[in-house]
Symmetry: C3
Subunit: 637 residues, 3 copies
């Protein structure tokens, strides 16, 4: 079975609409509904007064209709009564402003009162529904990610720091507190980053983000354990959100969920949406170790800069199948029915304001049919595999967001996306690996490392072994610069990788956007150049103009049985694609299918090949004709 | 008589300047001065110590000079002593920051202490001056518009909500509080919108803006009643400010003033200033039911993006007469004399820093003569009338300012201005009507409805009756979408108007600016397109390109004896003007005068026609030659 | 001797690095190290527990190595323990947010607790090190410039105001408090500018900035006196920072330091850096009355918009010598060794992350040699002299930063820099004079006065005497507008200078950027035009187009034995340079050297001429060949 469905909020509608909902779900082939997200104020309208009757009726009705339920604990938004009873449990921002209800997610995860209230409502749901026949999985909370700088949080942060650093001297050293008179003589002096005069301490900022991720994880685990105890047979998860600002380290969280569930909302309305979908699917598969579930995406719109973009006909289906091809166990949406009010009243839905007699609902019906037909061949197929891996590291991302770094347009997410895009356009299947998570690097012929700023000794050593054993490594500028505590690795960049790369960088020259540099092999770069000294590596290409003209730009070092490439500059998309094609060729990696037309994407999952035609014109692949904007699923040949 | 004068602040000047003021006022023909605005700290320098002597002397001196007085209560800015005595009466913003004195308008209108102090100073002025022979009118406060989110305001908001919604369940339903766990179980849980984690509830935000408007109105009424009681013969008003951010609903306030007084500051330095003037005059006349008074405009500058623009010679006169032509009972300015200090020390004045020997003062003298000459023919002339009406609705404006709407460049004010501009350029006289205010729609041959987002059942029904009876209605996209409580009207947009328009819209496609769409009749649109299904209407034109190519763009529906047009896209200025000309022609509406040159504007007031030549070159209209930048007033023919 | 060295922070490094530091310093010829800046938390890790041992060892080691010490009091950043002990001593911003540690400079200078703690640590350092043989000078604090709006500050502000204005009525008059009901009836009502509803009072804002400058100066003097008392033979200074936002009035501070020390960081990465260096050097020399010391600049980077720009080879040397040529007693850098962590971990250093085997350290070694060779000829040479002076006035700068002024792009610093740049490009040596500091204006043949907004009667009179006695004065628009209390000088702009200029300006027309105006002599202007009436002056050129076409643009007035030019518009760089060349010629001022190639700069210091070739190509001056990017120092004559 492939899951098909989405967020369902019957509490926003009169009961008579519920019958139509089940009828339409069945018509669309929906087989799962996420229920309960944000429903706390309807489940417990006053402290200690519970209203589970409506939820009973919803679950029963869905069950009768053959629709299973991902039952959410509603803890992402405490009700207004909670605010009044526990003002100290509301989050405080860096300026000391205590937020209040009126939106969602207003709680301090370190607050004992919040944690107790969350355990209480989760326990009562566990008690009542853990054995409900409709229950397919537990969905804890929603998109963990709040931030708080209050005094309770400060105390929790200190406890976390004591565990991490052990000794105050160690922390002082790791945070370089001698800079700007920040040396702590007592743990009690340490706070979260708060409004201060000028630049914050980047090590403190990074540790606080790590702490927040762990603290939120603690909140999740508490609920998971309690739900698991109520019925060990039901899987428990929470939805990971992908995007530009992410406050948890999903690679660490993945170990704690029974199934990696991902929310993904592309933010490019053009072909970039397909590339983001591929990126999101590959990254989610990495977290999930192969298997995962698309828990939310928007049926009929893409949020892009300042406006909503309605999807062209066919796009809903094509995007959805792409996630499935990349290993998702189904396709779920936010949301089933478009709300009449509330802050997201124009967020799209399978049943829009105009009702079921609409293009989007008709496409949803078709998609339901397609998923049902594909399920037998896909559901238990092994996930896609790849011979190339990209690295992803949330702490490096966070570290590179510090202010006053050498260029304000340093963009870790952008760099990883660009590397993925280059491989995607080269039709090369790609996995993700995570430096902090043990992985069999040796199973990859080629590993691409964009801006891996923080590198532990263990990671450095793993990459050394990988190359020595014959692997092909491609490392970009801004990699290996610092230890995990943010302290610079001295002696020349890229510190941790200097030996395997056989280079030493002595100076950075961040370029302004729009000032392209040409390399002597015709490649072009449009940001960042460096003064590279080779120390064993051969020069692949040199800067052709600009302040480093004549100096090495890209190098390759034979190291043991493998080779390590260094890319000291920000290549354009085309040049990066050409370089990665070249490395892949030398590493013996072939595209998913040979000879694909440019607008056609192929994804292999098990013994199936999914072919997507992202262009408007029909395309032909081998014997298969694929209509413009359409897809085909065929047996791998 | 036509009023001519402006804000006069003798308290900023030594007494010897006052004599020169009266002399110069007489020289300029000034016949009214607004006195007392912001003078609280000079009238009551310490709590309970009053200094009325200077004001006595000012009023007497003006009276002796034959100049009447619009006497203002100074309550818009409590003095510094008030701040110290009543910190709890200072406004608090959404972040919880309590503002303090140091500017103007720092008070919480819900504060009992503020209200008591305001009543006190107003009473004392009433007692002292209600029968002063110079007194022409009372001018309460100044430009009501402050905002506060404090706890006192919160309590007042709850009282207002109880009156509006009656029952908490009704409010929960109207606000869709089941979305994001906001369901209230006690009135005490409700606050104004304050700093919160993410998007606010749009219904709460809109009700808070309605509340603020009513709360400020309460403050006004309290003073009005007290002034009226002191001398029922003196009219009472307050100055309404037009502009991009307005916090009161003037259409509702108009019923409570004896004379609608308007402050207007155009923000375009080019020909847009003339179009804004026409818009402001027509809108003010709508509020005033025909009669109104220009209470403030800047003599010699237009604030535009980031700089002050000095007016070209002749512009002061032309703009001033335009307001008069559109029904104003005179022309008043902020301000008489340019101040030596204070926050607005470069705001222009009839007597600038350089003194009376200046172009602006010389033009002011000429304008005084013109107004005196015109007065006998104009003062009692009936106001302009029109066969076309435009709708204006402050709540729709506020509702469309919510974040996370389909496009961040939704711009209600811009849309209404554009429709007015199109009619203006087509030389078609225009009135305004207000959906919440009963009006005889049947007196108009044509009504234009831009982005009337919130529509009550009563309004929908009034428009239905209007069209059925033979009216011509033009409705734009984003109209009729929601009920007054912000809840969406389901089943297809534009909900409230679907029946009379004979269309059903199933999907919106907000376009990025700068991506023009061509219609199949050659018109162009540059924002917003829709998927329109006709349901009875005929298609006037179709999208020629873009994602909706081939679908209806503009439709017309015969409904009863009238017709209803739907414009599903944001036409360019030229295309909208062409469309409205076409509808006007079909509705039998003629321009003010036939055959006017493009740069000449004609406004008919009673049996007079005002002709404005906004171009630099001379123009000829019939027998009349009008110099470049000049005007003529002639008998209607 | 010429000082050569920079900020040295051994407390950030293990002791074994210190030996390498001394070795490398000797290798580079470094002869001075600034020690102790921000070291408070290492010197006093807990209140009352002092750790001077490490500093003893550092000073001894430096002394042994022949390196002298500028010993800093560490008071710019109190340690974390201070925050906990004295939360009331932390600064509060205008919104009432109390900042906390986590960066630098978090203290309220008016706080008694802070002042006591600062005196304590400074006294202990004085006691311990005042007679240390390595001690070359005391360096108090660092870059004074914090801001605070707390209640303690408010009280200090009131005390300062009482001293300045004497009587509350005088203050009410000076601040025009009758505007917007701000009249104070008790001193206790006055606060610093804080969050308020709308525009602040510009006079209050300006006095608060003056107060802050004086209050910080008080903090400095307290330490200076205490250090001086410990050993009167050791000079005391603090580092003045130049830049776009400066909160102290250096022209007033200069009288209180034994040596003007300046931090300068150019913010243009191209040729603008050279022009900024020249500007900074000339301005510093003005403050220092001829002699000064470059205390900080960045060895190898220029911070420019959003990114760090690494300097081309040769630039470190060329910039450094330029400061010396302009009177600096040496060249010092922030910083000696690039830190491994902390907020500025990528700020450049003489010893970068990559270590001494790097281009920057090699260039530093060469520079050390150059400075040592030059020292005997330069160190005691008299500073450069000039026949032209430019005015600089911090209060005018601050006053022109008020919001709601006629154009938001009014830019005092930009205007003074532009005038300096024009003289620089014309190869004309330039001094600075400060209206509030008595100076022998008569020693200059020509004085240029850009946007001297605030002018006292004494200053106006000094300029009148200067011109009457034969001087040549060039005054720009926005000069002479207001008295020092910000009140406008009435009767026509530029009030204070109307008589000597023989003009009267009645109207301003700030132009939008990018709308150039041509003058009838071919000059071009790109901002600001005015309606100028001559009253004795002759018209030099007229506006050729735009709203003032035909009116005077530039005028000259014979006044006594001299002449006074008025420039009513913002000329482009080229046109301003041409105008100032013309005035200089008429005043009999010659360039530093005749016939210099455009890319070559000449600075005369004593009997030496420094020649800088800022171009990439070699240049020839007389007999001397100067390599591209290089310099020569030769005997004048």
């Amino acid at each position: 079975m492939l899951f098909y469905g989405g967020d369902y909020n019957p509490e926003q509608w009169p009961e008579e609409v519920w019958d139509e909902d089940v009828t339409l779900m069945r018509q669309a082939g929906v087989n799962i509904a996420t229920v309960g997200v944000f429903a706390w104020s309807d489940l417990e309208p006053e402290q200690g007064r519970y209203e589970f009757g409506w939820l009973d009726r919803v679950l029963d009705r869905l069950h009768t209709g053959g629709i299973r339920v991902a039952l959410a604990t509603p803890t992402a938004s405490p009700p207004p009564w909670f605010t009044l009873a526990h003002p100290e449990a509301l989050p405080v921002n860096a300026d000391g402003v205590r937020l209040t209800h009126g939106s969602r997610d207003t709680y301090c995860v370190s607050s004992p009162a919040y944690r107790a209230a969350a355990r209480d409502i989760a326990s009562r749901m566990a008690e009542r529904y853990a054995h409900h026949p409709a229950l397919a999985m537990w969905h804890v909370h929603n998109e963990y990610g709040t931030d708080c700088r209050c005094d309770v949080t400060a105390a929790a942060f200190r406890t976390w720091l004591q565990k991490r650093h052990g000794d105050l001297d160690v922390l002082n050293e790791a945070w370089t507190t001698s800079f700007w008179s920040q040396r702590y003589s007592d743990w009690a002096q340490i706070t979260p980053p708060r409004a201060t005069q000028y630049l914050p301490n980047p090590a403190q900022a990074l540790d606080f983000r790590r702490f927040l991720s762990d603290e939120l994880l603690g909140g999740y685990i508490e609920q998971r354990d309690l739900l698991r105890a109520a019925n060990p047979g039901v899987p428990v998860t929470t939805n990971f959100v992908q995007g530009g600002w992410v406050s948890v380290d999903h690679a660490r969280w993945a170990a704690e969920v029974d199934l990696v569930a991902v929310d993904h909302y592309p933010d490019d309305a053009g072909p970039g949406a397909e590339e983001e979908t591929a990126f999101a699917g590959d990254l989610a598969r990495g977290w999930g170790g192969g298997s995962w579930l698309l828990m939310e995406t928007a049926p009929n719109l893409i949020y892009t800069r300042g406006r909503m973009h309605a999807k062209e006909p066919g796009r809903l289906t094509r995007h959805s199948l792409n996630y499935v091809a990349r290993g998702s166990r189904g396709a779920m949406y936010f949301q089933w029915r478009q709300p009449r009010g509330g802050a997201e009243l124009f967020h799209s839905a399978l049943v829009p304001h105009a009702g079921p007699d609409t293009p989007v609902f008709r496409e949803a019906v078709g998609l339901g049919r397609t998923l049902r037909d594909l399920a037998p061949r896909v559901a238990d197929a092994p996930p896609p595999t790849a011979e190339i891996a990209l690295t992803w590291d949330a702490p490096s991302w966070w570290a590179l967001q510090a202010p006053a770094f050498p260029a304000e347009d340093i963009d870790y997410l952008g760099a990883v996306r660009q590397a993925h895009r280059a491989l995607y356009r080269a039709k090369l299947a790609t996995d993700f690996v995570f430096p902090d998570v043990p992985a069999d690097l040796g199973s990859y012929k080629m590993i691409v490392v964009p801006q891996l700023y923080l590198v532990s000794d263990a990671t450095a050593s793993a990459f050394r072994d990988y190359v020595a054993a014959g692997g092909h490594l491609v490392v970009s500028y801004l990699s290996g610069i610092a230890a995990p505590d943010t302290r610079i690795r001295l002696g020349g960049y890229p510190g941790a990788f200097r030996e395997i790369l056989g280079v030493r960088v002595v100076e950075w020259h961040p370029q302004a956007p729009g000032a392209p540099i040409t390399l002597d092999d015709g490649a072009t770069a449009n940001r960042w150049i460096e003064r590279v000294e080779t120390a064993g590596a051969e020069t692949v290409s040199r800067y052709g103009d600009g302040p480093m003209a004549g100096s090495p730009a890209i190098t390759r070092n034979r190291f043991g049985a493998g080779s390590a490439w260094y890319v000291s500059t920000g290549l354009t998309d085309d040049s990066l694609e050409a370089l990665l094609r070249r490395v892949a060729e030398s590493a013996g990696v072939a595209p998913v299918l040979p000879g694909l037309p440019p607008q056609v994407e192929a994804v292999r999952r098990g013994d199936l090949v999914f072919l997507f035609n992202h262009g408007a014109a029909p395309a032909v692949v081998g014997e298969l004709a694929i209509p413009g904007g359409g897809f085909r699923v065929t047996a791998a040949g």
